[in-house]
Assembly symmetry: C2
Homo-oligomer: 327 residues x 2
């Protein structure tokens, strides 16, 4: 019996989930939900209904897991609890600071309805979180580092686009090589935000825009850029299309620590090199949808995160196959 | 309430578990069991009983989890099922091919007694297995590679020591740099054993031993060396003590694969650099003992592997702390 998946929101992430389902023969797409007019949407999978978001409830019993593909700022805080009252759900909520409050809201809704919800799935939060916990358990005396990039930060790109005179923008987060080397060597340095990452911005200015003013506004923007060494490159719309169309990302989690009598220093490193951030995140979402179905089938309910999911639950292989082949 | 741990077998691994317990304030050492005369054993922790292995049963109710620190060849296949009938247990059984049969024997004993057993814990099998499953779930279309080293292989060192004329020996497994680079690049090459690793042997010959004969016997030894490019260095006992006293190891698990429409290639890499293999493995064993206690406290029983353990169970932090700090 395949896991019947619903996609709620058909942007980059929703499209990625659709193609990821095609790579996982034990899953199938049951329906796509959109806030746009369904008639305007063409999806890849033939014979699958495209429906209005508000009609989701009609699919109870026809969908095992709804994957929520909206944004963390305004969509998911509302949608995940609402949908968790109807289905088992998976989301990629990634506003780290607001996870406890999102968890509480989703947990209440999922428990009341007897559904499973897995929130904050993806690579960070998600796979990186799993690595931080595994490494911290294996090396209790040590220090964790997370580096992001080189990759496109959606949030920082959006922040630049909101500046007056900016037609388009893309921001790359880049780890500082010397900092990364020191961490890999096991030096366990104390690093400020500025010492860990630089920010590289590619900006298409509107005609006649004040470039110096745009550059100043970017570099002085609090939280986003003020604490970093930031470079701004002005490029044409044509260059943006040609050189910056994709959304690569990645990064690493490194923990360095000592065991026992302090004599032995060990290093654990986890690296992701992703050609497309949304394509990879979507693929991870589908694996966690498989786990959500299995937990729901056991009669469990409530909210979970990647930290609560045993690795075996994510795999299409049976426990016996996993022990024989991958252990 | 601390997790009370028993150590069964006081070699390198047992000593490592003892020091790892000191790094984990929510655990405590309850007793050490040995097949030697307990009077001949001096342990680090004061006030903890050192007992004869056959007296373990007397400690039921005083030990939450027994960590088995014997070898996989002859000790664990007998000891783990026997001890799982008395306690919740954790072992580091690492004979990959025999894991299904070990699992079955331990599962039967643990279930009958209502205990939890976690077998094959460490880094491979163990953390590496977890990585293979996570990466396989995230990238269902792809290829896995495991490289070991540079590090000391206990089994290969022992095999050399059994050769006539060898006083002592240490064997390092070394990944082939060009193979590793091709995998990291995402080439997804097909690699034979010989193309992935070389074997470097340091041998102390007995006086008057036939070195040419020893070298030939090593290089032609089936399974261990015949399928690899092997180098043999003859050194003095003094050089062995000075340069090869430690047991460093490590390696990496790499999965490279494509998502969705095949357009995007991604790479996931997990690296361990371990100054001491037994010290690190011991530390991992203690983290899984914490998980075993938690599963037993929930009333679960039977055999588990690292693939069945949710990351959060390994951490001393509460689920709330984990979500707030590490997710």
């Amino acid at each position: 019996m395949k896991t019947r998946i619903g996609i709620y929101g058909y942007g980059n992430l929703g499209k990625g989930v659709e193609t990821a389902i095609l790579q996982n023969p034990d899953t199938e797409l049951a329906a796509v939900f959109t806030r746009r007019d369904p008639a305007t949407l063409t999806i890849k999978t033939s014979g699958v209904p495209v429906c209005r978001a508000e009609d989701a409830a009609k699919f109870q019993g026809k969908i095992d897991v709804m994957i929520l593909c909206g944004g963390s700022a305004t969509d998911l805080p509302v949608q995940t609890p609402a949908l968790a009252a109807l289905f088992s759900v998976v989301d990629s909520f990634d506003t780290h600071a607001k996870i406890p409050q999102h968890f509480a809201a989703v947990d209440a809704a999922a428990k009341a309805a007897g559904n499973i919800a897995v929130i904050s799935v993806g690579w960070d939060p998600g796979l990186f979180s799993v690595q931080r916990v595994l490494a911290g358990a294996a090396l209790p005396e040590g220090k964790d580092y997370t580096f992001w990039g080189k990759g496109v930060s959606q949030g920082h790109s959006d922040a630049i686009r909101r500046i007056k005179g900016v037609a388009d923008a893309k921001q790359y987060t880049v780890p500082v090589p010397t900092a990364l080397e020191a961490v890999r060597r096991g030096d366990m340095p104390e690093l400020t935000a500025r010492q860990k990452h630089t920010r590289e911005c590619f900006v298409v200015p509107e005609e006649g825009a004040d470039r110096a003013q745009i550059e100043r506004e970017i570099k002085e923007m609090p939280n986003y850029f003020a604490d970093y060494d930031t470079t701004v490159h002005f490029i044409s719309a044509e260059e943006m299309r040609r050189d910056h169309a994709e959304m690569p990302h990645g990064g690493c989690v490194i923990r360095s620590g000592v065991t026992g009598d302090g004599k032995y220093r060990h290093t654990i490193e986890y690296d992701l090199t992703l050609a497309s951030n949304p394509a990879f995140t979507s693929s991870v979402l589908v694996a966690y949808a498989r786990a959500a179905k299995r937990l729901a089938d056991r009669g469990e309910s409530g909210c979970r995160t990647a930290l609560d999911i045993a690795p075996a639950l994510l795999s299409p292989l049976s426990p016996e196959e996993l022990r024989a082949k991958l252990l």
